[in-house]
Chain length 362, copies 2
C-alpha cells in the first residue's frame, strides 16, 4: 500500500453501500453457502483419492477437452510443476514466459529455487507476446507459457489467429505450450470458442477457481494422462497432496456451476464500466475496450489525489469504485474485475458516481 | 491393500456399529460442525495476512513456547522448508533422520528433487535413534530431525534424558535440531512436560492438526522470528501461500480446543486396548505398553487369516478392530490410534470382541 490515505480509502470502500468490482466480500459465507446443502456424511477425499475429488477432476477434464486433470491447492504449485515436467522431458532448464508472468513477479523465484529452471522473458513488459517473439526464442526452450488474458497489462488477448500460429510454431519445433488459464473462463466469450477448442492448442492447461468463478482457492492442471500422473507425484513432493482438499473442491464445483456461464455478462459489465471511466478527464482504461471482465484504470494524477477523489465519490454516491490506488510513473492505477456486484448498483447511483469522479479529477 | 478380502474387511469395518480407533468418520461433518457457529461475515485470511490466521499462529507460538509460528497447508511442505532453511544457513546439503521418517518414505523424494538435500539415515529401521547414532553422525550435518513419537515403529519415544542429551550434543556441534511433532500433543502426558518445555530442546518445530486433534488438514511450523519469516517466503515458493487457508485454520482451532487436553485419556485407552490385544494368542503390540494413544498390532498369521478373523469379530460383536491388515514378514500388522470412538463401545461388547479374536486366531 502506498500512502497514508490508503487505509482510509480501503475502509471507506469497505463501508460503501455499492461496489463496482468483484462478486462480494471475501468472507466465510463463501464456504458456508457452498456447504449448506452438502450432506455432512459425504466422505472426505483422501490423498487425491475418492469420489469428491475424482468427480471434479473428470468434470474439468471434460470441460477442458483433455484426457486427464488433477486438482491442486494453488496455481503457483500447478504451474511450476507443469514447467518442471516439460523441462525434464526435454532435458532443458529453459522455459519462456512474459516478463510480468505470475511466475516472475509473485512467486519469490520458486521456479528457480525449487526447480532450477531458467526463464527466458519474451516481449516488453507493457505488451503481449507476439508470434515474432516466439519465432525468435532460443531453440532449447522446453516450454512456452502463455497467459490468457495477460493480467498485469489489464487483461489483454492476442488475436485467435496469432494464438494458433504460435501453437503451430511450438508444435513444429518440439516446444511444449502451457496455458496459464487463471482467467480462461473469462476469455471464452471474446474468442467465441469453447474451453476445449482453446485448450486443444496447448499441451497443458492450468485454470483457477477463485478469479471469475469466485471460489475460495484451488486449481486444475490438465493434460495427457501420463502428464497428470507425473503431476500428481510432484504434487506430493510439493506438499500439496493434502489428506483432504474438499473444502476447496466443494466450493470450486459449487461456484463453477453458478458462474461459468455468466462470463459474457461480466464482460459486458466491464465494457460498460470502462466506457464510464474513459469519459472522465485524465482517465484511460487498458485495454480501452475490455476483452474480458477485467481492465486497468490509469489516471494522470498522483495517488494521493486519486485516493481523495475515490473517497469523496464513495462518500457522496455510496459507490466504491476501488479499494486501493497504486503509483504508476507520475500517475496512478488500479485494477478492476467485474462480477456479480455491478448488477446491484442502481443506474442513477452509477451515473452519479462517475459524474462526481469526472468533476473531482477534472 | 494386500488381498482380495481387504475390500470386504474395509466395508465390514465401515458398517460395524462400534470402531476401536480414531475419533469418527472422515466426512464433511468435520467441517460443518466447526463452521456451524462461525459468523459468515468473518473476513477470510488473504495470503497469510488477517486476523483468522494471525490469531492461530500467535496462539500456537505461545503454546509451543516459540517466538513465531506460520500456518502451512501440510507437514510435508513445512518440514522440507525447515530442513532447507537450516541447510542453507550451514551451506551443507546433509540432513539426518530416521530411515522410516515421513520424508524418506511418504514424500516421493521431494526433499531431494525440490531442495537437493541428501539424507543421512540414522539407526536401524526397527528402533529409535539413540544418542550413539547422533554422536556418530558426520560433522557436516546441518540439521537432525527427530520424530516424537516415531510413528512407523508403533509410536515409540526415547527417555526424556536421552532427548536432552541429544539436544545438548547438537547444540554443542552447531547442528540444528528439528522436531517432527506430527503427534506432539500425544506425547505430553507420557513425558509429563508442557509442549513448550519439549520444544525448548528444538530449534524448529512442526505440529499437525489432523492426527490426535482431528482437524481436516494443516500444520504449524514454529521457531525464531527470522526463521518464520524465511519459512513464509518458502511457503510462497512451494505454492502453499494460498489466497485463503481458513477452512483448515478454523477447523484446526476448533478441534485443538476440544481435544488437546484429552491426550492422557486417549493414552489410557491405548494402554487398555493394547492389554486386550496382548492377551490374544499370536498377538503382540509394539510398543507392548503404549507411550501415546497409538501402537502397532503384530499377528503371527498371514494377512488373509487375520482379515477373516477381523471380519468375523466385527460381524459377531459389532466392533470393528481394524479396517485393514498389512503383511509383515510371514505375519500381519495394522496400526491403531485411539481417539473419541473407544468410549462409545460398551464394555461387554469390547470384551466379547477380544474373546472372539482370541478364539479365531488361536
Amino acid at each position: 500500500m502506498y500512502s497514508s490515505n490508503t487505509h482510509s480509502l480501503a475502509s471507506v470502500f469497505q463501508q460503501a453501500e455499492y461496489k463496482l468490482g468483484g462478486h462480494g466480500p471475501r468472507n466465510m459465507d463463501i464456504l458456508k453457502e457452498a456447504f449448506a446443502s452438502v450432506d455432512g456424511e459425504t466422505d472426505a477425499d483422501m490423498y487425491g483419492q475418492g469420489k469428491v475429488i475424482g468427480d471434479l477432476e473428470r468434470k474439468m477434464a471434460g470441460y477442458l477437452g483433455k484426457p486427464s486433470a488433477v486438482f491442486f491447492p494453488s496455481g503457483t504449485m500447478a504451474q511450476q510443476i507443469a514447467l518442471r515436467i516439460w523441462s525434464d522431458r526435454k532435458s532443458s532448464k529453459r522455459v519462456a514466459y512474459h516478463p510480468l508472468s505470475h511466475l516472475e513477479i509473485h512467486e519469490q523465484r520458486g521456479l528457480h529455487e525449487l526447480h532450477g529452471l531458467e526463464p527466458v522473458l519474451l516481449a516488453d513488459a507493457d505488451r503481449l507476446i507476439r508470434l515474432d517473439d516466439v519465432t525468435g526464442m532460443p531453440e532449447d526452450v522446453a516450454c512456452l507459457l502463455l497467459e490468457l488474458p495477460q493480467r498485469e497489462i489489464g487483461g489483454q488477448l492476442p488475436a485467435y489467429e496469432e494464438l494458433e500460429a504460435i501453437a503451430v510454431h511450438c508444435r513444429d519445433r518440439g516446444i511444449k505450450l502451457h496455458l496459464d488459464g487463471a482467467r480462461l473462463f473469462e476469455v471464452l466469450p471474446y474468442y467465441g470458442k469453447t474451453a476445449a477448442e482453446i485448450c486443444a492448442l496447448f499441451d497443458s492447461v492450468y485454470i483457477s477457481f477463485y478469479k471469475g468463478i469466485g471460489g475460495i482457492a484451488g486449481a486444475i492442471l490438465a493434460g495427457e494422462s501420463d502428464f497428470s500422473e507425473e503431476s500428481a507425484v510432484w504434487k506430493r513432493r510439493h506438499g500439496g497432496d493434502l489428506i483432504s482438499l474438499y473444502p476447496y473442491i466443494v466450493t470450486a464445483d459449487y461456484y463453477f456451476d453458478r458462474r461459468v456461464d455468466k462470463m459474457a455478462h461480466y464482460w459486458a459489465g466491464a465494457e460498460k464500466a470502462a466506457r464510464l471511466f474513459n469519459a472522465c478527464r485524465r482517465v484511460v482504461t487498458v485495454p480501452e475496450v475490455p476483452v474480458t471482465n477485467m481492465f486497468h484504470v490509469h489516471i494522470a494524477l498522483p495517488p494521493e489525489q486519486v485516493e481523495d477523489a475515490l473517497v469523496s465519490v464513495a462518500r457522496a454516491s455510496g459507490v466504491g469504485l476501488s479499494s486501493y490506488v497504486k503509483p504508476r510513473g507520475e500517475g496512478s492505477c488500479f485494477e478492476l474485475s467485474i462480477g456479480d456486484r455491478l448488477d446491484l448498483i442502481p443506474e442513477e447511483k452509477l451515473e452519479q458516481a462517475f459524474k462526481l469522479l469526472d468533476e473531482t479529477l477534472g
